[in-house]
């Protein structure tokens, strides 16, 4: 496999530095929240991780539309890679949220509208990856994945707005919180700086992961082509 391009190497370094700065801000700059204690610091990486999941699934929609219009295998690779990266951050945000909930809600899990819709969304994208693996023909697989990626995105706005549409105990940091919400807090300026910096760092990290995953996808395509050639010979 060829060496990563200079641009990708720069992106890797920039992402790593941004994440290190974000970790520094979370642990040494943001003040301790008095009601929840130290566990509130999970918020600074939990929300950006969930945001990256939403962004990744949106990129899959764009890639799906582009594939259906052009038929270029590149867009199929973008869609697949983006789902994989998005799913990673979705799971990581979900697990961290559950750990935060234990001392704050006194439970690891509850069938709250946000948690339920979030889990359904994650399962939709797990199914995307599993179903892809079940289709042999590359063109059929790419077409199916493009359509599934577009339709599956419906779960993202439903998940996002669930805390505004239904009664929930999930905190709403931006916008009006439900009176049932447990764990809401007002951000002080250092908290806001830390949060928005983490959001930015995770967005850059997403593009870095996507670019690296695309390199791997190119290699996978090459192996598939070689196998097909060997079988045809």
């Amino acid at each position: 496999m060829e060496k990563p391009s200079t641009r990708l190497q720069i992106l890797n370094i920039v992402s790593a530095v941004l994440i290190l700065i974000a970790i520094g801000l979370v642990f040494f700059y943001a003040p301790e929240e008095l009601v929840m204690g130290q566990v509130q610091r999970i918020f600074y990486f939990h929300v950006p991780s969930a945001w990256v999941g939403f962004l990744a699934f949106f990129v899959t929609v764009v890639a799906g539309i582009m594939y259906l219009r052009s038929g270029e295998p590149f867009w199929d690779r973008v869609g697949h890679s983006s789902v994989e990266v998005g799913l990673l951050f979705t799971i990581s945000a979900g697990v961290a949220g559950s750990i935060w909930a234990r001392p704050i809600w006194n439970t690891w899990w509850t069938w709250d509208p946000r948690l339920t819709t979030y889990t359904i969304m994650a399962l939709i994208y797990v199914a995307y990856i599993m179903l892809r693996q079940g289709i042999e023909d590359p063109d059929r697989r790419a077409r199916f994945a493009a359509v599934y990626g577009i339709v599956g995105f419906i779960s993202v706005p439903i998940t996002y707005f669930s805390i505004m549409w239904w009664r929930t105990i999930h905190p709403v940091v931006f916008g009006s919180a439900s009176e049932n919400a447990k764990g809401t807090f007002s951000m002080t300026p250092p908290m806001a700086v830390t949060f928005f910096f983490s959001l930015f760092a995770f967005t850059v990290l997403y593009f870095c992961f996507l670019a690296n995953r695309l390199r791997l996808a190119r290699l996978q395509d090459r192996v598939e082509k070689l196998k097909a050639e060997l079988l045809a010979a």
Partner: protein, 81 residues
Amino acid sequence: MLPFPFIDPTPDTVNYLILGYIFLIGLPVLYVISWFVRQRSLQRDIETIESLKADEQKRTAKPAAPSAAELSANADKPRAS
């Protein structure tokens, strides 16, 4: 607001914080490691396929045509009756 002695102390939730960040940082790190594992496995696949292709080409290759000198030498030989 309640006077200072009546305010609930901030709960000690450091253990949950540590556990949360183990997942938030650990999962992406494991994912990056998985790229290297998958890349190595794909490179091994490429090597195997290429060696199989080379073997296949050797097996299917036609025997080399006789040279002009060989043909003339054969032509000079007397034929067995």
